[in-house]
Structures are given as structure tokens and as C-alpha cells.
Symmetry: C2
Subunit: 229 residues, 2 copies
């Protein structure tokens, strides 16, 4: 920490514009148990969220990365909190407040099974079971209306169609400041290394060309630093 402080001092404040700022980043899928063996999951790799956590840390922020199960290593200097379900992810985010910025990148399951079997469901004469689902807590909306709301709350919207229409609607319903909209119908986006995003704010929309998830992360971190003087 002393070494890093000296480095930062030598580098000057311009290179660490987020020094002293606290960031929460959520990443990866959430996994919702059906029984002890089966789960509802999704195809999120966590790459985009991890890249954003690393990019915010590189600009000096104190970063808590709340992550669902992924195959990724935590970026250096970032504190990772590992969770499984949407409920656990929300609890971990609230425990990490207060923060200056929250970037909700995780692909949180909208729904979970209404009841979780304590033993493995068996194939039986009754035919396949019907999975009744219930709504999960909405982490982005909950953080956006929290009494300790971060000054800047950024959500991600992975959509397969009408990306910008859904992103604009999400900006309103969630109460967040920006939505980073990406089109996961583009082959290779979900789990892949590139991303084509649009930043939707209350002021307007900004379309970024297709670039690596690392470059999306660095540009987004730089934009966040501008927004948090």
C-alpha cells in the first residue's frame, strides 16, 4: 500500500482520478438452485465485469467486485466477494455500501425456482415437473433507490432485440443514471472477448464501435472518472 501510494504520488493525480473513490462492480451470472444438483444459470462469462473492475482499480478506485461463479481470476488490487444467487449478490452489494459508483454488469437471474428441492428430483411416473418461478430482487433498482445510493449507478442491459428501446425503458424503471446496452444476439458477445455497446443516459445516447471488452472497460472507467470529480 505504501509502495502504491508513492507510485500514485509520483504519477500525479491525473493518472489516478478515482483515488479515494469507492466502486462496486457486479459480474458474472447468478446461479439459482432447482435442487442440490440442478441450477438455472446463464451464459455470462464475467469477462466484461472483471475488465471494468480492473479498469476502475487502475484509475485508483477502491473496488469491491461482487461476482457470481466464473472461471476468472480476481484482478490484482480488487476485493472479490463470491456469491451464487441473486439474493446473495444483493446482500453483498448492500454490505459494500457506501460507494461513489456502482456498475451492475452481472447477468442476474430475473427469476428463481419458487421452491428448492432438498434432495435431487427424481424421474418418476408423474412425468416431468413444472418449474414455478418467482421474481428475484432487482439489484440495479434496489441500489438506485437505496438511502445510501451511490452518486453514479450504471446498469448493463443484455438484449437480443430492440436494444436501445429496452435500454431507455430500463433507465426509467430502474432509476439508474446510465445503461450500457449491448446486443447479445451478435454471435460471440455472450462469453466472447468483444462487445458492441451504446451508453444510454438521461441526456442522450452514445454508440461505441465494436471493441474488446478490455477497451470498453477502460473507456467506461474514464467516463466514470469524468462524472465523479
Amino acid at each position: 500500500a505504501i509502495f502504491e501510494a508513492i507510485q500514485a504520488a509520483l504519477a500525479g493525480p491525473a493518472s489516478k482520478p478515482l483515488a479515494g473513490k469507492r466502486a462496486i462492480v457486479t459480474a458474472g451470472p447468478t446461479v439459482e438452485p432447482i435442487d442440490p444438483v440442478r441450477v438455472i444459470a446463464n451464459r455470462s462469462s464475467g469477462k466484461q465485469g472483471y475488465a471494468i473492475a480492473a479498469a476502475l482499480e487502475a484509475l485508483g478506485a477502491d473496488v469491491v467486485l461482487v461476482s457470481g461463479p466464473t472461471a476468472l481470476t480476481a484482478p490484482a488490487g480488487v476485493r472479490r466477494v463470491s456469491v451464487e444467487t441473486a439474493h446473495e449478490m444483493l446482500m453483498a452489494c448492500e454490505a459494500a455500501l457506501p460507494a461513489d459508483v456502482a456498475v451492475c454488469v452481472a447477468a442476474v437471474a430475473d427469476w428463481r425456482p419458487a421452491s428448492v428441492g432438498e434432495t435431487k428430483l427424481k424421474k418418476g411416473a408423474g412425468g416431468p415437473p413444472t418449474l414455478t418461478l418467482v421474481e428475484n430482487p432487482d439489484i440495479l433498482a434496489t441500489l438506485s433507490k437505496d438511502q445510501r445510493r451511490p452518486r453514479l449507478v450504471v446498469g448493463f442491459a443484455a438484449e437480443t432485440h430492440d436494444v436501445e428501446v429496452h435500454a431507455r425503458a430500463k433507465l426509467q424503471t430502474k432509476g439508474c443514471d446510465w445503461i450500457v446496452a449491448n446486443d447479445v444476439s451478435v454471435a460471440g458477445t455472450m462469453g466472447g472477448d468483444d462487445n458492441a455497446v451504446a451508453i444510454v443516459t438521461h441526456a442522450g445516447i452514445e454508440r461505441w464501435e465494436r471493441m474488446s471488452k478490455g477497451e470498453v472497460a477502460r473507456r467506461l472507467a474514464a467516463r466514470i472518472a469524468e462524472e465523479l470529480p
Copy 2:
């Protein structure tokens, strides 16, 4: 191949008792799409199946490893066929016939969603959707009754309770020769490095002490070699 043939010739037939034998091993979870983003999956890591594929290869077998999505590297000398759903896994197994032995280790989803959304399901006013499931093809039973049935068909049974009762029933209903029963209610088995198994055959039951998945694999491969002179 020449080098390996020389090695095998030097080592003598005793060390490669499965030389010239063809094996099919299934491993990992299957992943059943709900929509382009969401899936039903399970907690199988694929470790046990990969270890068995490697152990059979080490005894000289020509191994096709039909694998669901895992984070594992294919063992050297093993031909891996990557699949996602139960249906794809069955197709890949049938394409790999004829074989002398099939070892079905994969945690195949018993059920899949009856219909797969072409676009991401949206949260709406109607509340959470109900997931109607339909039964998946039974790979173990299908291989066991195939016209080109391998001489030895081995199934795995991951159970959380009444492990041996369920294993014995499975032996009958599937029509396979052996069931390797393991108790996944033991913490750390699913996704972990150790396994405590019992081999259930038409002749009886053999309980093995708790050991590494690698050791389970080597002992099982040796037993298979005894059975396939």
C-alpha cells in the same frame, strides 16, 4: 504414433490391456437452453469423466470423450467431442459407435424446457413464466439397447439419498451392466476432487473407500480391462 507404438511394444501387452479397444466416455453437465441467455445446467465439473477417459487411454484404449461444457482440458491422446444438450450428447455417442465399452459419467439433464425462446424472455406485467419441462433422451438406456450395444455399458448414478437402492433400480431400468453409484450429498463431491463410490453389478455390490477421482478412474479402468479380455 510410431513412438507410442514402439513404447507400447517395449512395455509389453500387460501394460496396455485395452490396446485395440474402443471406449466412449461421457462427461460434464448438459446445458439445456431456456432462451438465448438462460439455461438449465447442473453442478458437474466433468472431473470424474475426464479422469476415466485419461485412465482408459493410459491402458491403451482408443477413447472418444463426449463432453458437455467444462473448464477442463482434454486429456492427451483422447478425442474430445464437445456438446451442449442431452440431445447433442446422444447424437455424438451414437456417431462414436461401435465401441467395446461405454462409460456414461455425464450428469445429463433429465428434462429440458418444452420450448426455447428465440429472444430473451422479458420481465413483464404477467409475472414470472412457468417453465414446462419435457423428458430428455436417456443416453445410458439408449446405448444399452442399441443394436450396436457396447459389450460393457457402465452408468453413473449421482444420488443424494438411498444411493444403493436407486443404483440397483437403475441397473434394471437402464439395461446397463454396471452402475457406479456416488453420494453427492457428501459435501465437496460435486465439483470436488474426491469421490466415494460403490460398483453395483448384476452379481453384487462392491464398496470402495473414499479416494481421489483420479484413483477411482484408474481402478475403474483396470476393472474394465479385466472385463474385456
